[in-house]
Symmetry: C2
């Protein structure tokens, strides 16, 4: 675990020499820089790129792609390095294209509730930038990820149950194709039936079809009223059933998040909260004063029927932020509970009617495996996560984690679900993709080969070798 | 206009002979049947297929595709024939694959708010079928179209402002690829980041990538309270500005539809209503009793500021249905106003901030052109329609309509919009696609060639000749 591998791409020395001519010391072959770019925050083995180039504009990125295309050198886009399935590693070597300096908000169209950003803008930076407009961008993966990375992995988060994922919120893109052309996909209008949906094809394609250099996103008005609550339950089942009934009743809850007892314990310690040590829902309601009150009353009634205790309310911005930051830090809390251990974060998503079954079976399996693996989840979408902590000094841990992950995914697939709700495929989930998609994998391969015949864009990711 | 053209596909006699062996009298070469399958409800020239085959299962459809693939015979999927841009015509001849007998609802997953249907199920049939469950499917193009056709054209309708279009509401598909394989795309879980979004690629691909044989759709709970209203305005501008402000305020209106004075006049006559002869909004609010009341009050306040009169309310199901049926029949009303004339229905969609400008300029242009072309619109999305009526006895009409359409589309594109909000491309909008997408058209062509190298799936549609 956390080993470092390195494969040198053919001809890469020529590529690097040409890049250096253009970009000077913005091309780095330093080991530390390459290491930082070859390893995300997950347990996956690091694979170092041969060099890293820091670009500052779409035109510069285009020059990099053109040079790499000429020499068939792999290119791996890099934002903040916070992905979880080995997306940014370079198993075939090549150039890591660091887009983090392309971090400008280009256009805020307040009247249209949309914004145009460069890929290196992070979600928190964006919300900070637009705060005065009264608008916000709701998608919030755990990390303060870049919008480019979030687009590429089809990211999601706690607000998806109300506002959708990156799939629903990217209106248009500017991209560089593998042959080095810069082009626009999609328009700012809210809908269109003008041909193939190339925007949605690029969302979630993990850098395997091209480089994203501009993203147009939907924004939303900050609701008049936003109130959050926590509610502790006698059983995990009661908490999950409350979620299921809330969704089935069509209550437009903005956030409905689950933490099992283990997670509550670590979050209490890491974020200095004092939640009761029980399976807990964290909820948020958005709307007018009257409508949030009404929604909250409906969910409270459901919770009561399912063994939920009283709702601990918070409507002040500062407290709400603290509470949700604690939720976002759940994985770090788990990591802090096991210093020096590796973190393997994994997730699945199932149809809501099968959620209780999937979580309860998985919980039993965690106990049987003897692993420390707190459960958290964006349960309103049927999506939940395990943060499996792996002791590097005991080789059985990795094996046991692998078994637990394999079984959870088989369970989710058998219930009509997916092997990855929001983390993407990267290297980590390739082996499950055929079980999920079957024959359809051949269409993905055909599209990849058609758009990137030399396989230079993040080769090996999503579908493994394509020939 | 409404001429009938016919091109015989090479080798089609062999294809037809093989089909007849399998399907007997479910293969028709009768002129009347071919004519019905070669012409949609728009003004476009008819192009007759060489034969029509009526299939009753996915496996039968697969056999048809396999036979056509072997002989490189074009295949055009057919549902209800209610599309508007020449989607179902056969400019290269070939086989019309009639899927209307595949009209079963296969699975209603009440607890997951989803349903699995065959492509020939129509939207009204579906809603009738699921009525007892308390769920409904919101997407409602004017016609009682088939779900297969609606998926293929990325259809939309009056509820899209609240519930999204087919893009947001198709969860999974079963399709037959051009080489005759039957496969599944997507899963029932609400989100996934497991590779390329093939479902969204097929939604809106107009039968050019394969045949859709099963569709999994999202459903929604019928709201506790649904109230509709009409409101007449002193000016078209006032009505449009009310819409813009409603959307910008984030009021979750379920429907907000515009009719200009011309439309109100024809709708009054056709559907026996007595709306005041003014620019009019038709609205609907969904939610709890309290929240619909609150939403309605907010919109009323905005309308008042913009010269809107009083809201005429209706909450009884029967009256609401009558009112919305009248809205859906607006194109038929225009047709009835000019007996014997051809109907050319066209639409565009722009960012909401540019909607007033786009509609008002277009209205001026209608007056200047001397055409009868009532305006209706799903204005909450920035989407509006012209129903241009064309006198077949006066050749100048078609030319003038063409000019009006060309200018409206150029206007919409220059404002950041799209050349087709919800009608698709078919044959009618091909010529605008390069202006809209530029270089990105080459990606569409690459994908088409990769998945359908012999170009047998609805050839000539969306992108014209691909070589």
């Amino acid at each position: 675990m956390a080993a470092t591998a390195q494969v040198k791409a053919p001809n890469v020395d020529v590529t690097i020499a040409e890049l250096k001519k253009l970009f000077g010391d913005r091309v780095s072959t330093a080991h530390a820089v390459r290491e930082q770019h070859g390893k995300d925050i997950s347990f996956h083995e690091a694979h170092l790129p041969d060099a890293v180039v820091f670009v500052e504009s779409a035109e510069e990125a285009q020059r990099v792609v053109q040079i790499c295309a000429r020499h068939k050198t792999p290119i791996i886009a890099f934002g903040t390095g916070t992905s979880l399935e080995g997306h940014i590693s370079a198993p075939n070597g090549g150039i890591s294209l660091d887009l983090s300096r392309m971090n400008k908000v280009l256009q805020v169209n307040e009247a249209d509730l949309d914004v145009v950003v460069q890929p290196g803008v992070t979600r928190k930076q964006l919300n900070e930038y637009i705060r005065a407009t009264g608008l916000f961008f709701p998608i919030d993966p755990g990390a303060d990820a870049s919008i480019g990375g979030m687009t590429s992995t089809r990211a999601s988060g706690t607000n998806a149950v109300r506002y959708g994922t990156m799939r629903e919120n990217v209106l248009a893109l500017q991209v560089i194709t593998p042959d080095g052309r810069l082009m626009r996909l999609g328009r700012r209008s809210r809908k269109s039936s003008a041909g193939y949906d190339l925007v949605k094809l690029f969302v979630g394609s993990e850098g395997t079809l091209g480089i994203i250099t501009e993203i147009t996103l939907r924004l939303y008005g900050i609701p008049e009223s936003m109130v959050s609550a926590t509610c502790a339950f006698d059983s995990l089942e009661g908490a999950v059933n409350t979620v299921i009934q809330t969704i089935q009743s069509g209550i437009p809850v903005a956030r409905i998040e689950l933490m099992d007892t283990e997670t509550v314990d670590t979050v209490n310690k890491y974020s200095k909260l004092s939640l009761p040590l029980k399976s807990t829902l964290m909820l948020e309601f958005h709307g007018t004063e009257a409508s949030t009150k009404e929604q909250a009353e409906m969910v409270q009634a459901l919770a009561e029927e399912n063994g939920g205790g009283h709702f601990a309310w918070t409507s002040q911005a500062e407290e709400r932020t603290k509470m949700w930051q604690a939720r976002h830090d759940a994985a770090w809390a788990a990591k802090a509970a096991k210093p020096g251990w590796g973190m393997w974060a994994t997730d699945v998503c199932v149809p809501i009617s099968r959620l209780a079954e999937c979580i309860l079976e998985t919980q039993k399996d965690i106990v049987a495996s003897g692993l420390y693996a707190p459960i958290v989840g964006h349960v309103g979408d049927g999506n939940f996560h395990l943060t499996m902590m792996v002791n590097p000094d005991d080789p059985t841990y990795l094996k046991r984690a692998e078994g637990l992950n394999d079984r959870m995914i088989a369970r989710a697939l058998s219930l009509g679900g997916t092997c990855t709700g929001e983390h993407g495929v990267g290297l980590g989930k390739i082996k499950f993709l055929y079980d999920e998609h079957g024959e359809a994998m051949s269409l993905m391969r055909s599209i990849k080969k058609a758009l990137d015949p030399d396989n230079i864009m993040n080769p090996g990711k999503i579908m493994g070798p394509i020939n």
